[in-house]
């Protein structure tokens, strides 16, 4: 009886453990395989607009047709790799500025009065309660030529002609940094808040001035938070479509926009899929590398 219960208990536990795997299988792996499959087929004017990979010829022969042309096309046409590089550049610069702004904010909140912390964190998350799209639209109102910012600058006499801010790279950076800043602050705050402050006292005791204690103790200990925050900002920023379309120069090359055009304007699903697969590889390979490096640093032991 006991053994039976134990077995049942074990099964119950494995069911719980299976839930995230099942989720990943259903909503990540299967869609990925479908996209991968489409990326190897050729475009067709039909519904769906691509040729099937597997073809039953009716003579006991199963034909598999792999079209590598889509990937070759991405390499040959420099539009694509320019878009990739530009997206990675824009995402990197935005991540950098998010970190520059987010670290002091997270640090200040983590070191503030415990009763104030929850309110301050609430204020950080508060923008999520309005639609993302609305908030990006609001920036149009701020940045346009007769928008809030230009009018304000003219009013205080800093400029006499409005500066072109909307539809520039500057507007895209502002939009991305604004939208993704909370994703930088949240993991950083979680990391800094749980730090043992006696470590800083120990550093002071051993001769560190406060800023040295920050550089030698706080900063290295917060690196996992920095890493998590950077990934959370960088990954969605690379594929960002909405912000460059609304705020940026229409000619700005971003891989998210290219993907959109391939899918909806050109209806070239195979090329669009290939773009998506390559983008995924661009993101997953460095991430795996980081994870490896982090594990090696921890001596292979998870705490």
């Amino acid at each position: 009886m006991k053994a039976l219960l134990k077995r049942a208990g074990l099964q119950g536990r494995s069911v719980v453990a299976a839930v995230p795997y099942l989720w990943l299988l259903l909503f990540f792996l299967i869609p990925f395989v479908i996209v991968l499959k489409i990326s190897f087929s050729s475009s067709l004017i039909a519904m769906p607009p691509y040729e099937p990979l597997l073809h039953w010829t009716g003579e006991k022969v199963l034909q598999i047709k792999l079209n590598l042309g889509n990937f070759a096309f991405l390499v040959e046409d420099n539009l694509y790799w320019k878009a990739y590089l530009n997206s990675i550049w824009v995402a990197s610069v935005s991540t950098f500025f998010c970190l520059l702004l987010g670290y002091p904010i997270a640090y200040a909140i983590a070191r503030s009065n415990p009763s104030a912390r929850n309110i301050l964190m609430l204020l950080i998350v508060l923008p999520f309660w309005t639609s993302f799209l609305l908030r990006v639209y609001a920036w149009i109102g701020i940045l346009k030529n007769n928008g809030l910012l230009n009018n304000f600058l003219i009013w205080i006499g800093a400029i006499d002609q409005p500066i072109q801010m909307l539809q520039t790279d500057f507007a895209v950076y502002v939009g991305i940094v604004y939208s993704y800043l909370p994703f930088m602050i949240l993991p950083l705050y979680a990391n800094l808040e749980k730090m043992d402050l006696t470590l800083l006292e120990a550093a002071a005791d051993l001769g560190c001035k406060p800023w040295q204690g920050f550089l030698k103790v706080t900063l290295p200990l917060s690196l996992p938070g920095v890493r998590a925050g950077c990934l959370l900002v960088f990954i969605p920023a690379v594929g960002e479509f909405v912000i460059p379309s609304l705020l940026g120069d229409p000619g700005m090359l971003m891989i998210g926009k290219v993907l959109w055009t391939e899918f909806f304007n050109n209806r070239d699903w195979p090329v669009a899929s290939a773009v998506a697969i390559v983008l995924l590889l661009f993101l997953v390979i460095p991430m795996m590398y980081f994870q490896r490096a982090q594990d090696a640093e921890a001596g292979g032991v998870h705490r």
Binding site: D196, L199, E201, A202, D205, L206, V217
Partner: protein
Amino acid sequence: MATSPRATQQKFEPWTDPDAKPYVRIEKVTKKFGDFFAVDDVSLSIYKKEIFCLLGASGCGKTTLLRMLAGFERPTSGKIFIDGVDMTSIPPYERPVNMMFQSYAIFPHMTVEQNVAFGLKQERLQKDEIESRVNDMLNLVKLGQFAKRKPHQLSGGQRQRVALARSLVKKPKLLLLDEPLAALDKKLREHTQFELINIKETLGVTFVVVTHDQEEAMTLSTRIGLMNHGEIVQVGTPSEIYEYPSSRFVSEFIGSVNMFEGRLVEDEPSYVRIGCDDLEAPIYVDHGVSSAPGATIWAAIRPEKITISREKPDATDNWTAAVVQDIAYMGDMSIYLLRLDSGKVVRVTQPNIYRHADDRITWDERVFLQWYPESPVVVTK
């Protein structure tokens, strides 16, 4: 009040020498948190090469006092001198003091070696000097082969030794230890206690130790400062504190004690007699006591200073009858709980000198308790 006799075998007693200069001088230091007095008007002198224990229950202010010595807290009023220099407004990173934290506060992102070298690198010493001093220190605390390990790969005892090495490697003039042995098991604790005394001897450091564990304070310290509610209640050597407590609080805090409440019935310069409602005979003490006539006083008698016998003593003083209520056999000794006729329970310990004793005093037996005239300590508060 009794004056304490000087222990004869110990030579190290700078506090008895009026010419000796205290190494650490705490002058009327008070620390308030809001309306709460964490440390209340404390003055102390600590001498070179002492191991001075601040002993007290949690919340008595001992850690706050230690943190003021380290520089993490500023006194609300009063001054702290170390080696004659006013330290009151000097930040921790400029004090000739190192502290070993209760949580050890070892940097988790550094190896054992890097942890120990941290303070030396801060001093910008030569690389090979740092290396040799770190090695020496790691050997001293027997962590040589763990130099490259990260803190999470160490046991509690090893971490404690890393913390100790890290605070000692800078050769501080004053080492502050906050509950240094609290997280260790009994065996390791005893071992470390002797190690600390050895380190004191070899390096000539002055120690201030905070502890709530009286046993630790007794074995480690040259002197104990007993604290209660932010105040120093008594300062003295372990034996002074144990044998000559100045108040009920001290005698009850250190070891166990039987406290008999009573009044002076005879008050002579050379002896007193105390009438106590719980006891059948009065308590006779062989020295004078300064107390207001008629005031309530207490006689404190340690459990090991009372003897149990079956025969009724023919003395007029210092005995009472009792019934054995409980016996706890501890191996080296037995603890007897005896109920007096008044209902008060007295604790007596007896060494188990004989292996076989067939006629041992046993449960529910009616017996007589006796003690010597010099055994009770009379306290007035």
